[in-house]
Symmetry: C2
Amino acid sequence: VSAIDEAATELARLPGIGRKTALRLVYHLLRQPEERVRALARALVGLSERVAPCSLCFNYAERGQLCQICSDPRRDRTVICVVEEASDIAAIERAAEYRGLYHVLGGRLSPLDGVSASDLTVEALVKRVRQGGVAEIILATNASVEGEATALYVQQALEPLAVRTTRIARGLPVGGDLEYADGVTIAQALAARREM
Amino acid sequence: VSAIDEAATELARLPGIGRKTALRLVYHLLRQPEERVRALARALVGLSERVAPCSLCFNYAERGQLCQICSDPRRDRTVICVVEEASDIAAIERAAEYRGLYHVLGGRLSPLDGVSASDLTVEALVKRVRQGGVAEIILATNASVEGEATALYVQQALEPLAVRTTRIARGLPVGGDLEYADGVTIAQALAARREM
């Protein structure tokens, strides 16, 4: 049935979902009441319609609003933790150690993938720091080759502003993704951060 | 962000997808162009709108049409293979051994889950056989306790009609699900079917 093929093909585009898993999901959905399937579809479309980058830090936010962290008056606005992806923020928040703000670069320098500095939000970060009131920038890009290169690039871009710039410790396994690290490792990495 | 929570909650309802995987999928979708997310949502809604049970065998079919197998003139209409779920048909078709028609019961007898004979399409099967032209019924319910009980129930319902009724061999691992069996095992199980 073509509708089954189409749904399986779309689901199989998702990371970690192969053709067989996609078909299993489709058969599951076919057994659900129509309202459940519509709720899922609506929630997915809601991602595109209702989520937009925070105008300050580029974290995910309700469209037209600052993100939950930037709009929280209890956060320490003098520290900015720089991460590659918005999904890294959830990992750091899980460690419940860090009370400052964030800045999402939107990727890492990667010439092979055609990602250069102009694709990242480094300029917006420099502007944030230039506006004053920032005491420290913590570079929390991944511990991969690209993550290290990106941290170095951001540090150099910030150098003229004479702001304290630190790098989270290599508590992460080398080559590891921040998003999958456990809270204790992330907390240790934050505590052992060093001057760059 | 509430839209992210909602999408993750809906995705985590799917079988085999936990909260962490759901979030990973959401972050992936947030990085996709809006058109891709809409295509996925549309394909899912299409399942409810365009798929309906075949009026002859209860396999999945385009709404208002016979299924691909019942409408195929090359299939042997004298043999009917009885399965629990429509998804079992794909598994048997993968074995490329069987050329007859199917009948989908829509489940298995399971008093604990409140599934009784009246929830299954046994009566419709009896009606199909009564209309004549059927030489053999192959009972291909799962090799589980409920699957065996269901096969026995169907066999007894067909007894007055004196149609040849066979059971696929226990080539499947006992307790195993037909949907996940490989083609060779299914082919052997079909070849070694026995009179009931």
